[in-house]
Structure formats: structure tokens, C-alpha cells
Symmetry: C2
Subunit: 195 residues, 2 copies
């Protein structure tokens, strides 16, 4: 059994926790008032909005060393909905990896709306978690652990390759949010993946 | 009835032509040997690989003035499958717009594989053509003309906003091609859109 710590009690954190628990694994959910509690999972999901990441890292960087960190953020400019706030040739995930040299950072869950995590399907397909990460060990570990956790929870997982692909995943997440905010698609819909 | 000129006889050009004709509109398809023929459509689809765009523009820039240009390219580095070949803060569509100041450039059809254009569906949803473009006139024109053409052909169209969104569409197109090339998804599958 795997323990996954989830930092964040917004709409995504609990949705991800449900998947973990649905698969018979253990979720530890910690909110912003739980700074006195240590993360216990070997996998830690950063399920806070991008602007809160810096604070979480300041509070918990030591606890995150040696762990697999899953970054789910979409670093949008939510005032304009017209750009990401990270440099065009970088990504939130790359920045987090740089800030946590002793952790192994993966990008995942940023292209799935909470509603499709909860329903487990979109467009008649299993909701698909697309993952990107650099570390070969982390990814094989992920294949054995996180993917198992995701799959046990009824979803599908696809490995998109190195952490450089986080940039494209964040672009896709941005586009999906912009389409929903612009009422071109619903927050219960979005991008599905047909394998 | 609308005439759409399609430059390119690869796998995308004929697939797009089929949609045009399925909707009762007229498609003119021109290959690289048809440089003696003038484009007749009010809409011109650049359905050549990105590296061939420069040559097409050199040959036909004058003919493209005043028309709506649809850029479908995915400017990947096909040797590494690890990056786009346009600057990170730009897009192929933005470059084409800069090269054709007297045309109105839209990005479309770069996130739909030819197979899903031909089948008209993906994941049980109508295949969705996501469009981005700057010019308000071009877009209302497009809503009245290209979207009608696409919809008449049995597909769905979504307006993703300004031409700045071409960057995210190209990132998504890149990711989709990388997943298919890496056999994570099939060339008959890919990203579907659930509205």
C-alpha cells in the first residue's frame, strides 16, 4: 500500500485523494493550517494554486527531500487569461524541480479538471492523467507506484516523457482553463485522450 | 457556397478537402507542382509541412493578400521530438502572420490527426477543430464561413481566442504527435474535446 500526501484542500486535492483511496491506497490531506503535521507519503502532490507554491516550499522543502513530488499547477495569469506566468521556455514544474534539487518532480493532473477526476471518465473514455518527469528512477517508480495508484483508482495514466514536456502540458492546461472560463467548454468536460 | 483552396497533398490536405466537400462547399487542392495555378478560394489552408511554408509564401504571397489563411502546421523538431522549432514565446502562426501582413491568419486543424478528420469523430465526440486568430473581422468571417464549412462537414469548431493561443495549440499538437510517435496513443486517436 502506498501513502500519498496531498497538500491542498481546494477542488483538486480532495478529488485526487478520492482516487488514491478508491484504489485502496492511503491519502494524507494537509491544508494550509496543518503546517505542524509532517508529510508521511513517499509521493507528495502539490495541490495548491501556483501562487501558493513558493510558500509551501518555504515551509516544507526539508520534508520533501527524497520524495516524488507531483506538481499539478497551471501557472496562469488569472487576470488576463492571456498568458502563463512562467517564462515561455520553462514551466512551473521545472521551477519546482530547481527549487527542490533533492526531490524528483513530476508533472501530472494539470490537464484533468476535478470533475473528470471525480467522474472517472470523459467522452466515454477513462479520465487520463498525463505525466511528465525527468528522472528515469522516478518514472519507473511512478510506473510502479503512482500509475498503479491512478489505475487502481479507475483512471488511465500516460507517460509523456521528460520534464521538458511539462511546458506543453501547462500550455494544454492553460488552453483548457481558458476555454472553460470563456464558456466554450464546460468545467465538467475538457480534453479527453483516446488511446 | 464557399471555395477553400488547400495547398498541400499530404495526409492532411485531402482530409480537409473531404470535409469541405462533404459540406457542399468547393475545395481546390493544389500540390507543389501546381505553381502555375492561382488560388481561387477566399480561404486558403496551408496544408504543407512547416519546413515548406517559407517556399509556399515565396511563391504565392501576392495571391494570399486579402484572404483568410489557415495555418495547420506543427513546427516540431522531427529529429529529436523534443522541441518546437519556433521561438518559445511565438508560434508558426504568428510568424506566418508577420510574413503576410495583408492576409488574416488563423490557426486551426493542427490538433486533429487526419484519421479523426476522416472519421469525423473521436472518443464518441464529433472531431473538434480548435481555432485561434487575431482579427475580429476574420473571426466573425470565420464563424460565418469556415466554422459553417467545418460544421457542414460534420465536425465541431471552437474559437479559442486570439492568435496568441496558437502557441498553446502548437504545444498541444506537439504533445499529441510526440505521444503517437512514442506509441502511447494511436494515430487514429489523440485529444478529443468534450464540450
Amino acid at each position: 500500500m502506498t501513502t500519498v500526501s496531498i497538500l491542498g484542500m481546494g477542488n483538486m486535492g480532495p478529488a485526487i485523494a478520492s482516487i488514491i483511496e478508491k484504489g485502496g491506497n492511503t491519502a494524507q490531506i494537509l491544508g494550509s493550517n496543518d503546517t505542524d503535521q509532517t508529510v508521511t507519503g513517499e509521493i507528495v502532490v502539490l495541490a495548491v494554486p501556483y501562487p501558493a507554491i513558493q510558500q509551501v516550499l518555504a515551509q516544507r522543502a526539508d520534508q520533501l527531500a527524497g520524495k516524488i513530488i507531483v506538481d499539478i499547477t497551471n501557472p496562469l495569469n488569472f487576470e488576463t487569461f492571456d498568458s502563463l506566468t512562467v517564462p515561455a521556455d520553462s514551466s512551473a514544474a521545472a521551477e519546482i524541480q530547481a527549487a527542490l534539487p533533492n526531490s524528483r518532480v513530476l508533472k501530472a493532473f494539470n490537464t484533468t479538471f476535478a470533475a473528470t477526476l471525480a467522474s472517472g471518465e470523459i467522452a466515454g473514455q477513462p479520465t487520463t492523467v498525463v505525466i511528465a518527469g525527468d528522472d528515469a528512477d522516478a518514472k519507473s517508480h511512478l510506473a510502479a507506484v503512482v500509475t498503479a495508484v491512478v489505475t487502481a483508482g479507475g483512471l488511465r495514466a500516460i507517460d509523456a516523457g521528460s520534464l521538458r514536456r511539462a511546458r506543453e502540458l501547462e500550455a494544454m492546461g492553460f488552453l483548457q482553463i481558458a476555454l472553460a472560463a470563456g464558456e466554450k467548454i464546460s468545467w465538467t468536460g475538457g480534453f479527453a485522450v483516446q488511446a
